[in-house]
Chain length 401, copies 2
């Protein structure tokens, strides 16, 4: 069952404001079993106050045991079933650098590689060439000209870059050209379906011209293409929820994910403080605000328990400024857990607190993993959070008579 069938049918408009504050990778683990997690360790008087007046729960990002990447993690929070809406690798890479994919685009993850005199690959990653060296090469490939096709070539990092072909009818069912081996040439682009034949031809011509442009390079004289993908076809927030939605994020990936569901990207904040300013500035123009905070995840990935605790305290300190604006529904959670113990994303449920006038407050006194999972919302899949938010905002009518 697609929840959007229900929210489309039942949506109601009103003056309520909904804020979803995502502390990326918020959930954690204690360093020793039975001790406190990062969130439980942090001094979080404002989040604890939210827990007292609101209702808590534990979010399962995808399904029990499944650890999500940022894409599925956020799609779930946005109310899009991450198992139904799969974002192709090329589209995610383009999204990750903030490239605004259009409906006529096919996005491709590209690698520079090293070819010998016979055209065989000697290094699939071009000696892990530095970003400084590779970025101008990606820009140089914008000189490729193919009639009827607009071409974008965008630097990413080290040997990686993104290529986007824009033109009508470009399917994305094209096999990778990376042979996953050295001593052999890159594969020719090959369509897996007739509707992608034109894309394969465009890719072949792109590669031909690109190799001429790279001919003089010592290491990055070749390229491989992987993960051909069209923009995922996600219905917009406006359509499925009736919400005018704004995203206030610092990093391109999260702006990109928000753009995919039709949110406006507002402001150009570089810090959480600036994000709060942007929120206040745009308060009247939108119904829904997605605020993204990255550093709870990155400190977790670094394995730095103490630093993650500090970052959580930054999140906590931001709460009063948000509450001052008077949101009808304020939710604080994460897209997944990133325990510093594991130095990676994990499958553990993510603590959630939701505060609204009609939320049915539970007995939770603090915001933390152990309190939250025993909270009034129980444990549930992230994709149900948006319907809950709409209900708490009075934006969902009755189902059936």
């Amino acid at each position: 069952m697609d929840m959007h069938e229900l929210t489309r049918e039942l949506q109601v408009k009103n003056d309520s404001k909904i804020v979803l504050f995502v502390a990326d990778g918020l959930g954690g683990l204690p360093l020793k079993p039975g001790k406190l997690t990062e969130l439980e360790t942090a001094h979080t008087p404002h989040l604890d106050e939210l827990a007292r007046v609101g209702v808590s729960g534990g979010l399962i990002p995808v399904k029990p045991g499944i650890t999500p990447g940022s894409g599925p993690g956020h799609l779930g929070l946005f109310g899009y079933d991450p198992l139904q809406y799969r974002i192709g690798r090329g589209a995610l890479e383009a999204t990750g650098i903030g490239f605004a994919l259009g409906p006529d685009d096919v996005a491709i993850r590209a690698n520079f590689c090293t070819l010998d005199a016979h055209g065989n690959i000697t290094d699939r990653r071009a000696g892990r060439i530095s970003s400084e060296e590779s970025a101008p090469l990606a820009v140089r490939l914008r000189q490729v000209k193919i009639p009827g096709i607009e071409i974008f070539s965008e630097p990413v990092k080290e040997h990686r870059f993104v290529v986007v072909f824009r033109g009508p009818g470009l399917g994305d069912q094209v096999h990778d050209t990376d042979p996953q081996a050295t001593g052999v040439p890159p594969l020719a682009p090959k369509a897996a379906q007739p509707g992608s034949q034109r894309t394969a031809e465009v890719a072949a011509e792109f590669i031909r011209q690109a190799r001429e442009l790279l001919a003089g390079e010592a290491r990055a004289n070749g390229l491989t293409l992987r993960g051909f993908s069209n923009r995922p076809n996600l219905p917009s927030y406006e359509e499925v929820y009736g919400l005018r939605a704004a995203a206030i994020a610092v990093y391109p990936m999260y702006k990109g994910l928000a753009r995919l569901v039709g949110m406006d990207i507002v402001g150009d904040a570089k810090t959480l403080g600036e994000q709060l300013d942007v929120l206040a500035q745009h308060w009247n123009a939108y119904d829904f605000f997605f605020i993204h905070f990255k550093y709870t995840d990155s400190t977790g990935e670094d394995g730095n328990f103490a630093a993650k605790v500090k970052r959580i305290e930054e999140v906590d300190a931001a709460i009063p400024a948000i509450r001052t604006l008077g949101p009808t529904v304020l939710m604080v959670t994460g897209d997944h857990s990133t325990p510093s113990l594991l130095k990676s994303h994990s499958w553990h449920p993510v603590p959630l607190v939701l505060a609204s006038p009609d939320c049915r407050t539970d007995r939770c006194q603090k915001f933390g993993e152990n309190e939250a999972i025993a909270g009034g919302l129980g444990q549930f899949e992230s994709k149900y959070l948006m319907p809950l938010a709409l209900a708490n905002a009075g934006r969902l009518g009755k189902f059936g008579a």
Copy 2:
């Protein structure tokens, strides 16, 4: 969504060991509302210790309110959606006596019955003939010869036996021959689909020869055939999880169920003590071990609260020997509840404890129904237990980027 699509895609191999210890029918009920269940009454210091270091939850075998048989109960624990994978009655009966069904087999539940001189049924169960009397008759029917078909006729209990036809292209869509009434003859085997026509013909010939072989019997001079079914098509543990799996069970039914998902049946233990020896002997050869203990269910079925308590204490006493081996993930649960109050399987959630280094310990201090359902894993369908086990064993990669 079939979780196996995810586990196939995300599985990672490592040196971890996973143990699933199933105390059949573990969940119970207090004899009076508000009192303690069998598990809560039992003295279980080792399970309580697991609850302290691990994380607890409540397993819903199929869906809320649905009481499962052993088949669906175990399929859920093994991670196979019991609503998707239905085991036919004949296949389950064959599995229950440990018959290793092959891909070319059709298994049938057979009953001896009593026929009068006109061929009409006078007793559908042949006077509930004793197992001692009926077993040689089932064996006698192995004399039936049908060209191109291998025939197995296996005693079960009292008037019941199992017939298996083995041969290429034998469909299982054949109607039961039991008319569910006396005073009428058994029905002729009739195919419900063209692909099962040959099976119906083989069954008719089997019945014809069988009646000749049984002609002199006073009570068991006829037979009916029910529940024609092919082996269910279950993908293997190796394929869906990347696990080399071993089953250590005493009773044929549980060996049979494990065999259906591709587990090796190891050892020939008759007691829990011997099962633990078998576990230690095979520790290095497998990644996953399923240990089955029957008597928590059978004492529940007997309505013997005190005996079930004692059997639970046997389960408890086995925990140290398992933990000594150093499993990465140790899970103790049941396939369903069997409250001695009800003398039957029930729908109540089954207590679960899972211990692993990364499990996110909750605040449960004891192992019991009331503690477990408020545990860190919440309540969830049994089919998600295996993905959780794999995650805790570090055997699942990230979903999406």
